[in-house]
Amino acid sequence: MSGEKISVRIQVNERPFDLEIPSHHTLLDVLRDDVRLTGTKECCAEGECGACTVLVNGEAVCSCLVLAVELDGQRVTTIEGLISDGALDPLQEAFVSTGAVQCGFCIPGMIVAARQLLASNPNPSRAEIQEGLAGNLCRCGGYSRILDAVVLAANSRR
């Protein structure tokens, strides 16, 4: 029973990865250790902090709560997948300019979650932003700059 590996093909940031992985490894484990994308962070490993947020088929999820083997044939987008041609997107620029980034450890998860928020709600109110980012903990900052960043990014897209 232990150690049996399963073959899956997961699309990560638009590249296919053929992986042989144990069924008990989470998407977070596999992204960091097998696919070698370390932008997605591990903190609570229980879905409470949001540091491990990625998009699965366009939806924000905690990658620590998904077994990698569940995602055969599915699409995953990580923080690394948000840049195109080396340029930051307006959301990333906004995080930089508003002072939302301090130690930065929460930031990849925060940006991925904010990305999905803006994709489904391009002009969110502050309360809606708070609800969309309620699952992402930050310990360095007071969150208000993060709110400002999302508002700024939303305005810059219009």
Partner: protein, 291 residues
């Protein structure tokens, strides 16, 4: 996490067979938001995890059925919150589903998973109870329907027998206009598990139904047919007495989220507030309906 085998059946029959396999210690995996946590903490040590996401009969959609809505086994909290029909007819369920964790959790967590995990503090259960939800169970001996009011047998325990799973949940549309509301107490304003939660439904026929979570080994439902909880015209004293009667069965405990006395006091406060909100919504609905 300990290793386990992983199955991804494509049919319900395969799923039931795997679940019923006497040689196995199986766990069902839907959204994973409860299961993965329990696996990581070692609270569950299955030999095999059965992923339901490939099973064609276990649906992710909410469909209209005769007189109500049927929530497929793979319906997520996000789908519930977004569905116009649920928002129209089952407002308290939308409120409850929208506080289950964060967006990330709600994108994966399924309604059936929340039910079968059977935490006494499950947020969606009080809503399902006041709307008279019915569980459609399938298993080795076929299918059966179980009113959710009788589904829970203890903390983390349900009537599901070995090999059984929840295929869907039916919520019948209310037959008369109602107003309903969800309420809960948490330790912080942000994402949290409930210290207590409850739902109240006030009906235009003067009856009311309330359901309470996190104040007893299982969520429970209580009705009042006396008319004391009608949305309009009821006497304040009779109403208070009737409200208190609704949660007479509560047996709150002290745990890391709250003390016994506080829970008991909050039951009283929140039952009153939830009734107010439900009654207000009913009155608004009646006013809107009559214009």
């Amino acid at each position: 996490m300990r290793p386990f085998a992983y199955l991804r059946p494509t049919t319900l029959d395969q799923t039931i067979a795997a679940l019923a396999d006497p040689e196995a210690k199986p766990s069902l995996l839907a959204g994973g938001t409860d299961l993965i946590v329990r696996l990581r903490r070692g609270h569950l040590r299955p030999s095999v995890v059965i992923d339901t996401k490939g099973v064609r009969e276990l649906r992710p959609e909410i469909v209209s059925v005769d007189g109500g809505l049927r929530f497929g086994a793979r319906v997520t909290m996000t789908s519930i919150v977004r569905d116009a029909r649920v928002r129209e007819h089952f407002q308290a369920l939308v409120e409850a589903a929208s506080v289950v964790g964060s967006v990330q959790i709600r994108n994966r967590a399924t309604l059936t998973g929340n039910i079968c995990n059977a935490s006494p503090a499950a947020d969606t259960v009080p809503a399902l109870l006041i709307y008279g939800g019915v569980a459609n169970v399938v298993g080795p001996s076929g299918s059966r329907s179980v009113p959710l009011a009788g589904f829970f047998t203890g903390p983390g325990r349900t009537v599901l027998a070995r090999g059984e799973l929840l295929e869907s949940v039916d919520l019948p549309f209310p037959k008369v206009p109602v107003g309903a509301a969800f309420g809960r107490i948490t330790r912080r304003r942000g994402v949290d598990l409930a210290t207590i939660n409850l739902c109240g439904l006030v009906s235009s026929d003067g009856t009311a139904r309330f359901a309470f979570g996190a104040v007893a080994p299982t969520p429970f439902v209580a009705s009042d047919e006396s008319g004391a909880l009608a949305a309009s015209g009821s006497d304040h004293v009779a109403r208070s007495t009737a409200l208190r009667g609704l949660f007479a069965r509560a047996r709150p405990i002290t745990d890391v989220r709250g003390g016994r006395e506080y829970r008991a006091a909050m039951l009283e406060v929140m039952t009153g507030r939830t009734w107010q909100l439900a009654a207000t919504r009913l009155r608004e609905r009646l006013r809107a309906g009559s214009s």
